[in-house]
Symmetry: C2
Subunit: 308 residues, 2 copies
């Protein structure tokens, strides 16, 4: 409904929503905040290693989702910015550790050498640990947000990363590597945990910071679940259809590693269709929020139209 070139969706009440401009503006704010939170100090090597991966670009979709739901629920970007940065730090930690030789053994990430290829495995492990711990510190030190909300946010973040979230998803993913008989239930478990849990945390944490009602929080949680799974399906599709240059990482990696993916279970067309259905379901959850949900609507649509 509210794609960047759609002038008819809002019945003339407001100008069309420019997602590109919206994302670019918020991306710049997030970059500045990340830079602010992580200056270089002694021992420089570890700060440089953390900054190398944290400031390596990327769409900053996770922090932007967090800022967006805080604003949707009548909060300010300032209130959500520490949590938004924490989410990006946590995401970066998971990438650094996933890329290690003992895990996915990846040499490139976002078009650059992976952290351990530059700094060594020991520093890469510690850089991940440092980012994870620091993420919780900066959320806990957020100003002008009631502490009752911050502890809720921290509990959700912790759970999203723990064995009940990202770590659990990664473990099952590793167990399934090279297996030809992975079921759709297992694949769903992997993705709702490995990537979905953190995406959901992005969406709900921004709203919790703004003091949203429980009912509205549940709607946003379902929105997040749907876009999270859609995001992963599209990721799998792009791994097959996109080139290495577009992707900024080794393309066709999943195929090489014989990883179970949605296209390998459903085929490419069915996968694309499922992603569309999930995005439609996500958008339906946003209806009660009216105009204030326009960024989230547009982000949902962006997931299925992105090419890298």
């Amino acid at each position: 409904m509210v794609a960047t070139d759609d002038k008819f969706s809002t019945q003339g009440q407001s100008p069309p929503f420019d997602l590109c401009k919206y994302l670019a503006e918020r991306q710049a704010l997030v970059e500045a905040a990340l830079e602010h939170f992580l200056p270089v100090t002694y021992p420089e090597k570890i700060y440089e290693a953390m900054r190398y991966s944290l400031l390596a670009g990327g769409k900053r979709l996770r922090p932007i989702l967090c800022l967006a739901t805080c604003e949707l629920a009548s909060g300010t970007m300032e209130m959500a910015m520490p949590t938004a940065c924490a989410l990006e730090m946590i995401h970066t930690m998971s990438l650094i550790h996933d890329d290690l030789p003992a895990m996915d053994n990846d040499d490139y990430r976002r078009g650059k050498l992976t952290n351990h290829k530059v700094y060594g495995e020991d520093i890469a492990i510690l850089a991940g640990d440092g980012l994870l711990a620091y993420a919780f510190e900066i959320v806990a030190q957020t100003e002008n947000v009631p502490a009752e909300r911050l502890v809720q946010v921290i509990a959700r973040l912790g759970r999203a990363v723990s064995a009940a979230g990202l770590v659990g998803g990664q473990v099952v993913d590793l167990e399934c590597e090279g297996k030809s008989d992975v079921t759709i239930e297992t694949l769903n478990f992997i993705h709702t945990h490995k990537t979905g849990a953190l995406l959901e945390a992005c969406v709900v944490c921004g709203a919790i910071i703004a003091g949203i009602s429980v009912t509205d929080l549940q709607r946003l949680s379902r929105y997040a679940e749907n876009i999270g799974l859609a995001f992963q399906i599209v990721d799998d599709v792009l791994d097959i259809t996109a080139t290495q240059e577009e992707l900024g990482k080794t393309a066709g990696k999943d195929l090489q590693a014989q990883k179970a993916t949605y296209p390998s279970l459903w085929g490419l067309e069915e996968s694309k269709s499922k992603a569309q259905q999930l995005v439609a379901a996500a958008k339906a959850e946003l209806e009660p929020f009216g105009e204030s949900a326009r960024p989230l609507l547009a982000i949902a649509e962006f997931i299925t139209t992105r090419t890298h």
Copy 2:
């Protein structure tokens, strides 16, 4: 003053303090709480790996310190127990990651094979990540403690683990390996960060949970700094003087790795004497707390008298 066999220290006002009994009782409570917080669920492998290292014994000195300062400041053990367990989870995470081949490459810990020797490097890395994230979740979900105190605790825990704490200390430690010209300042930096920061967090977090005054918190912080450094010096001394059986890990490891230690800079006798001085300074900080500080006094003394 308040050693386990000293009947004269309290001028007849109360029975002598039995540290062994005190530690054993609290250790049992901590074991039960750790077990409660980490049941096995799907995916079992990661929970088993986390439990393998978390429930591998150990003195539980960190959680016991946290419980002790909470009680000293008129709080209950129940209020501090989630944070006490979180501290042990964080400590265990640091051990699992430190033992990895890319770091200290240790095969044994507490007399058992290290985590990666049993579960593989990938699972060991993830087990550490999972324990770290879960630690913050359980602190944030503590009941019957004001959220304002919990966010203070979380900020301190995060800082204690981050590049400004444990991770920073470990990085400098790795940089110094095999170097013959490590200064006492660098060695102090390593230990006040690698082990001292988390020990200080144990002591101050328990007191924050109980709502202690800023002045008293500073006293406890200085107590912790002093016992933290004393603890490390004694650790270095024991690495030379204790046998592998007593230590539960490879003895003489520091010497083999050509690590700078206090005995290598000061010699054994001077190191022991410095540890005694630090313990005396720690005990002096406890004077205003009177009888309520007896466990902390006894723990300080225990550090210099322990043999493993």
